[in-house]
Amino acid sequence: MTVAPAIPTPPPSSLTETVTALQRRFGPAALRRGGDVVSSTAWATGMPAIDGLVAAGGLPCGRLSVLLAGNRGVSGRLTLLQALAAVASRSMQVAYVDLVGTLDPGFLADLGADLDACLVVRPDQLAPGPGLAMARALVRAGVPWLGIAMAPIRRSSAAAMEHAVSALAGAVEGSRAIACVSAPAPLAAPLAYASSLTVECASLGWQEAHGDVVGLRVGMRTLKSKVGAPSGEASLLLRYPRPQAMGEVVGFPAVVGHAGGDLAGLVAPAVAVAG
């Protein structure tokens, strides 16, 4: 009969005390056991392509999610962010921090947004520091959905943004808000670190009908997920909304998607709910 050698282990009480002390000092997210289940609820966007990308079934609550441009030029991330904001505004108050300066509320309305529920933040000279500070204040006040359209960040200002991003992540975690950031490539280091879900968006080509561009085909890939196992790739068709005439009732955004498949079945005209 052989006896396995005893593995010297520290007393469990001292380890627990140390972990508790570190969490008390640096925050509960600073140190976790590998086996601890990170509880995270998700907000289902209603778009299967996005909801199927993560096991949680949607954008995580209390975390930063990043839509990252996968290539230079058109990627569809801003249109997707505005489509998500439009969907969210139908059921909650939305804050949209426009650090790019390209938001068109008319386009947002065409996507079906409830403009009364939308707050648009445009800091002076589109400076990211004040923009993130305002976003943090709004989230702390109780805004449940936050969208941030980030512009390219210079390498010199990335370090200065670190505090703003980490503070925003803390505020989002404290208020259990849904925060979605649209960022160009390359992703700034503070944002890459604070992100819990990073999805890369890349253009797969224009969708044309009768010689006109009616939408954009977007391929999506999960680069980072701290809220569940990623489920590979997905692709969706962002159908540009038809400008609505006055008095016409707009409906939900005409975004159709499909997780993990090709676009063969998506070329068919999407159904735009109207009237």
Binding site: R90, G106, L108, A109, D114, L115, D116, P123, L138
Partner: protein
């Protein structure tokens, strides 16, 4: 089931006189002025009342009844301060308060979140009133109707509470003399002549018999004798403005010091608003300067403010807007357009709707700090024309958005 608390205490003018002249505490005191004046007695101490002095009598008659009495004029300022303190204290404890010169009436129907029993609630009200009156303990009565509570308070002693359990009002009143009934003296005299010497005897009669004899007065007497009067508590009307003024030790030019003083004023005003259950829809800040000038700023908060926490973001904006040209010597913060603080039904189907007011305040604060054009709400234009840029317009983000039910078509 209605429950009324009535606290009877010495006349506020008498308490003010005692504060100014403590040596008159046990002396016969008559409040109203000098006896040579053709004025009525406003209040009399227990010693003066024992000599026959009653409120409403001419002062000269009071002097004849009680030659040893000390006659003092009414101290209006002190009386008003006592009234305000008593009202603040009572409003903090009871939802509806009616305050008179010598009695307070509170509606304590239902349950209070802090006080488990009615007796504990009544004791808290009595303690608050005693503290506000500077130690003058009231006699308190609690009953299902106002007349019974008033009678119970009269039968109680100072620092004591007399409770009449629900349904026992008539039994409590039955042995008491009919002179307590608030009806015409002629009716009382005829009731006595009929041999009715107590309220129980009046309550035992059929109301139709009393109506035949005394008309409507008979019905009123019967209702009171059974403890069934339904006179409600009429809450005090809200003041039009509340203001706090802080005089600084000397001229102050440091913005941080002014901010610190403004916080003190804000805390004090917010506390007064909260205790009275009021909210302010407009705030004015006046910075009185050394040169005799004043810098003023006013603002309408996006959501009516009713506490120091809600006032402070607005006051910060006012401090930024007011630009004193000289060192500041005093601050004055005034809350106007006061109204009762009411709750709001939260849209349960709209996520985060409970934080709508907090978001509006934050947006206003961000507008003050970063500029009015930083947080905006888009609005679709009614007549956009052909130019895409005219399809929408921007309005300040602090403008209140209409609450729209989820799922409604726009």
């Amino acid at each position: 089931m209605s429950r009324i608390l009535i606290a009877r205490f010495a006349h506020l003018g008498l308490i003010a006189a005692w504060r100014r002249h403590p040596e008159l505490r046990n002396e016969p005191v008559v409040v109203g002025g000098e006896p040579v004046l053709r004025l009525p007695v406003l209040a009399a101490s227990a010693a003066a009342e024992a000599a026959g002095v009653r409120p409403g009598q001419p002062l000269r008659q009071a002097q004849q009844l009680c030659p040893a009495a000390v006659f003092v004029a009414l101290d209006g300022g002190m009386t008003e301060r006592l009234r305000a303190a008593a009202l603040d204290a009572l409003c903090a404890e009871a939802p509806a308060v009616e305050l008179g010169d010598a009695q307070a009436c509170c509606d304590i129907s239902g349950r209070h979140v802090r006080h488990r029993t009615e007796a504990a609630w009544a004791a808290a009200v009595a303690r608050a009133l005693t503290a506000a009156l500077g130690g003058e303990a009231p006699s308190v009565g609690v009953a299902g109707s106002r007349f019974v509570a008033w009678t119970a308070a009269g039968k109680s002693a100072p620092r004591h509470i007399r409770r009449v359990p629900p349904g026992e009002e008539a039994a409590f009143l039955a042995p008491l003399p009919i002179g307590l009934l608030p009806v015409d003296g002629v009716v009382l005299a005829r009731l006595s002549a009929l041999g009715l010497d107590c309220l129980g005897a009046v309550a035992g009669l059929h109301p139709a018999d009393l109506q035949r004899q005394f008309g409507d007065d008979g019905l009123v007497a019967h209702r009171y004798a059974r403890g069934e009067d339904d006179v409600p508590v009429t809450p005090e009307s809200a003041p039009r403005t509340l203001a706090e003024r802080l005089i600084l030790d000397g001229p102050v030019a440091d913005r941080e010091a002014i901010r610190f003083c403004a916080r003190r004023v804000c805390d004090s005003l917010g506390d007064r608003l909260r205790r009275r259950g009021l909210v302010a829809e407009r705030l004015d800040l006046v910075l009185e300067c050394d040169a005799g000038t004043a810098a003023t700023a006013s603002r309408v908060p996006p959501v009516a403010a009713g506490s120091a926490e809600e006032l402070w973001p607005v006051v910060l904006g006012l401090l930024g807007a007011a630009e004193p040209v000289a060192p500041v010597t005093a601050l004055r913060l005034e809350a106007s357009r006061l109204g009762a603080a009411r709750g709001r039904q939260v849209d349960l189907w709209r996520r985060g709707d409970a934080a709508r007011d907090a978001v509006a305040r934050t947006v206003a604060r961000l507008g003050d700090r970063f500029g009015a054009q930083t947080v905006l709400r888009p609005r679709l234009a009614l007549d956009p024309g052909d130019i895409p840029e005219r399809r929408f317009s921007w309005i300040p983000g602090s403008a209140a958005a209409e609450p729209v039910p989820v799922g409604s078509q726009r």
